[in-house]
Amino acid sequence: MIGNSAQPILVIEDSDEDFEALRRVMYRQQVLNPIFRCTDGDEALDYLYHTGAYSDPQTSPRPSLILLDLNLPGTDGRELLQQVKQDENLKNIPVIVFTTSANPRDIEICYRNSVASYILKPIDINRLKQTLQSFLTYWLDIVVLPDTVGR
């Protein structure tokens, strides 16, 4: 068992299959953290700002960690990252980019916008599992995340 049930994770991912792969690994690792998913950038913005379908902060709590795909329908992951990092209330949430894009420009832009980690999605299923396991252990067990209690 890893993680903390009081620290929700927001996954922004348009591909059901990719999300399914992630969910499988989490299930095997027995992740305690509640997982929330948005399938596009606009939805993610609604979630973070409690607008539209996510107006209730109880059912859509502020995440302690954001896992972000870059190529998203609607508002793009790059744009979303920039907006989160420019927002005084949201900027201290660590954002981890999880993408297929190995474009050096993307990598540079993301780090310039204070991304916490930039992780490439491997095609090979074993490597994908390995990557996700390491990532989950590191971010949910080793790293101290900003305290969300009282917010």
Binding site: D16, E17, P73
Partner: protein, 751 residues
């Protein structure tokens, strides 16, 4: 001119100096005698009427008489010899001894031809010949040595005035230089100490009118020994052979224009002499000598001065050219650099303005503007953009030459006065008049400290007693104003450099066009490769894809008993993904080929097109229960039927897809009286946020996750846009988020 030949009564009133026929005054100065002689018999046709004083014969005793009456036969023989010379003036002066009533007197005879008659002018010789020749040689030798040791125009001017004054003994000798507009400035002076200095004084062009300038450039030297002389008339007035007044252009005794006499009076001058300085066959300046009392200069000394004038002219020409030679070399190297920069830069304009040196250095301008392909590029101090646009329009409409330049723009283009501080001087270089491509250079107003010796617009003052008075003049204001609106003049080598740049620009631009053509060929080749890539993508990538698809299906078919529901679900996902992949590949292929498929343009009834599409989509329409509205008949337009069908197909299927209302509708129509016709497809669907209006047309850019609204490849609107653009049309969207969208498009160019 068709004037009366006998009309010698031209009244000079100081306002018409510019028109006065000063070459046919009908009078001579009385210090010598003029004879007009018919060849070959040497009969005297006309004489000045002062012959009695000089020669002891009354004019009527000489008229129609042979010249033998005055000269011994050996002198006649000598004269005849002279007259056979090619250049008869080379013999001047010829020494003649004439038997007057008392004793023989030695005269300097000066001969030339005028309109077929020989003009013989006799001046009493004052110096002894031998001595005279001795002096001439020494005077000239000394002066020439000094002249040749000079380096600059200023030095030459100073030396020549000093030397001429030393040789002649005039009170004042000035070097007077003309500018391009024939205004003059005194650039050197040598004078008696007590006299006021005229150095640096400027004189308006009208002080030396055109006819006078013409005579100055024909004769190297002009002498007026006594401005208060009583003119001697030529009798008869007209040449009896031609019945025309005698042309005295080449005469040394020619009577002086009343204008000039008045001018000398006003300056307090009794005697004057001028030596012309001529460069490239054009009057460049004058060495002007003044004396406060009458002063006669013997022919030999005048001859020496004339010779010095000629030497000075040559020296001035060389020195002036040399003075500019460094600048010329400098400008050549600037031009070479500019050509190099232009070739190296992507845009030749960058090469002209963004480097050192730049086009300002080429002509020593303070500002420049390049007008190219409707863009205006500015450098240095220039007028406002709008002012330049107006100026360009004026140039376009008024200037036909490839190169136009002025140092006083406001004189031809009065609006320029408002930006005189940056552009009183202009060079306009037309690269292509039809395409409005120009290079302009600007120079600011150069406010010079000008000391005017006179106001050309008010040369005459009426004194209290009603007489006319020339100077000192008082009102210079208007004239100063004209001078104020001037820049430094453009030197000819600067104008030439600008003209050379034109050739260079044209060459570079042509070469760039050439390079562009090569690039196009290259692009065509890489397009073909891309085409090939798209085919590989559609065929070779599809092969393994088909394998995955088929084997997944085999698994479900053959092992469905051994698989639980979750397992079957995973296989169905696999099949769905292969279909999605195929869709993506097909869209990519369609999009990449779109630009190269030939258009089949024809008048097309859009009603038929839309109904065909609606038929194809009928299953979806029924399924979703969407209401299709076509408020009125669509027009017939000139377009590619298949491709425009694709446009409607994409827009209508999107409208069906992105709608979550219970009562769905789509309206297809066009805006009345729009030109070009604006078509639209409107829905009451989910709408689009404004920030996504542009990105929806980007390839593979979707607004929703693949599982929402039936998915899609994200290529449909990109393909639609490309089709519209291939028809020279435009496509855009208006939408209220949550309420619906309207896609507008046109199928031809904007008017």
């Amino acid at each position: 001119m068709n004037t009366n030949k006998n009309d010698t009564a031209f009244t000079v009133d100081l306002t018409n100096c510019d028109k006065e026929p000063i070459h046919i005054p009908g009078f001579v100065q009385p210090h010598g005698v003029l004879l007009a002689i018919k060849e070959p018999e040497l009969t005297i046709l006309q004489v000045s009427n002062n012959t009695y004083n000089c020669l002891g014969f009354h004019p009527e005793e000489l008229l129609n008489q042979p010249l033998r009456k005055l000269l011994e036969s050996e002198q006649i023989d000598f004269l005849n010899d002279c007259l056979t010379q090619e250049d008869i003036q080379i013999v001047n002066p010829v020494e003649f001894t004439i038997k007057t009533f008392q004793e023989p007197i030695i005269f300097d005879g000066i001969i030339h031809r005028s309109n077929g008659v020989v003009i013989l002018e006799l001046e009493p010789a004052i110096l002894e010949k031998n001595n005279n020749y001795f002096r001439f040689y020494h005077l000239v030798k000394l002066a020439i040595g000094k002249l040749q040791s000079t380096k600059t125009v200023t030095e030459i001017s100073q030396i020549i005035v000093t030397e001429v004054r030393r040789i002649t003994g005039f009170d004042r000798v000035m070097f007077y230089r003309f500018d391009r507009d024939w205004n003059g400035i005194v650039i050197a002076e040598d004078k008696q100490e007590h006299l006021p200095s005229y150095l640096d004084l400027h004189y308006p062009a009208s002080d030396i009118p055109t006819p006078a300038r013409k005579l100055y450039s024909q004769n190297w030297l002009r002498l007026i020994p006594d401005a208060d002389y009583q003119a001697a008339a030529i009798v008869p007035t007209n040449n009896p052979l031609t019945d025309e007044p005698l042309d005295l252009s080449g005469s040394v005794l020619r009577s002086v224009s009343p204008c000039h006499i008045e001018y000398l009076h006003n300056m307090g001058v009794k005697a004057s002499m001028s030596i012309s300085i001529i460069k490239n066959n054009k009057l460049w300046g004058l060495i002007a000598c003044h004396h406060q009392t009458p002063k006669y200069v013997p022919y030999e000394i005048r001859h020496a001065c004339e010779f010095l004038g000629q030497v000075t002219s040559l020296e001035i020409a060389t020195k002036e050219d040399n003075e500019d030679s460094e600048s010329k070399i400098e400008i050549k190297s600037v031009l070479a650099k500019l050509v190099e920069y232009m070739s190296a830069e992507k845009s030749f304009i960058d090469g002209l303005i963004n480097k050192q040196p730049n086009i300002l250095n080429l002509v020593n301008a303070q500002g420049a503007a390049i007008c190219f392909n409707k863009e205006l590029y500015l450098l240095g101090n220039t007028p406002e953009k709008q002012d330049i646009q107006n100026l360009l329009l004026w140039i376009h409409n008024n200037i036909d030459e490839d190169i136009f330049y002025t140092d006083s723009l406001s004189q031809v283009y009065p609006e320029a006065e408002k930006f005189k501080d940056v552009a009183s001087g202009l060079i306009a270089l037309s690269i292509s008049k039809t395409q409005n491509k120009y290079v302009l250079w600007f120079r600011p107003e150069e406010v010079q400290t000008v000391n005017w010796g006179g106001n050309p617009n008010q040369p005459v003052e009426v004194s209290e007693n009603g007489g006319l008075h020339l100077s000192p003049r008082k009102s210079f204001e208007l004239w100063k104003e004209i001078v104020r609106l001037k820049s430094l003049p453009w030197k000819s080598y600067e104008v030439n450099a600008a003209a050379e740049l034109r050739g260079a620009i044209i060459t570079v631009v042509l070469r760039k066009i050439d390079e562009l053509a090569k690039l196009n060929t290259e692009l065509e080749r890489s397009n073909k490769e891309l085409d090939a890539f798209a085919y590989i993508a559609s065929h070779d990538l599809k092969e393994p894809l088909r394998g995955i698809h088929n084997y997944s299906n085999f698994l479900i078919e053959d092992y469905s008993e051994n698989l639980d529901e979750e397992g079957k679900d995973k296989l169905r996902t696999l099949i769905r993904l292969t279909q999605r992949m195929e869709d993506l590949i097909d869209s990519l292929l369609q999009f990449s080929r779109l630009g190269r498929v030939d258009m089949s343009m024809q008048p097309t009834d859009l009603n038929a097109v839309v109904h065909r599409i609606l038929d194809l989509l009928s299953a979806r329409i029924e399924e979703t229960g969407v209401e299709i509205r076509i408020p009125r008949q669509l027009p017939i337009v000139y377009c590619d039927r298949i491709q425009v069908g694709e446009v409607f197909s994409n827009l209508i299927s999107n409208a069906i897809k992105y709608n979550d209302k219970t009562e769905k509708w789509i309206e297809i129509g066009y805006i009345e009286a729009s030109d070009p016709v604006i078509f639209y497809v409107r829905d009451n669907g989910i709408g689009i946020r404004e920030k996504h209006f542009d990105v929806i047309f980007r390839i593979f850019k979707r607004l929703h996750g693949p599982s929402k609204y039936g998915g899609g490849t994200g290529a449909g609107l990109t393909i639609t846009k490309k089709i519209v653009e291939r028809h020279d049309g435009k496509i855009w969207v208006e939408s209220n988020y949550g309420e619906g969208s309207t896609f507008y498009f046109t199928l031809q160019k904007d008017n």
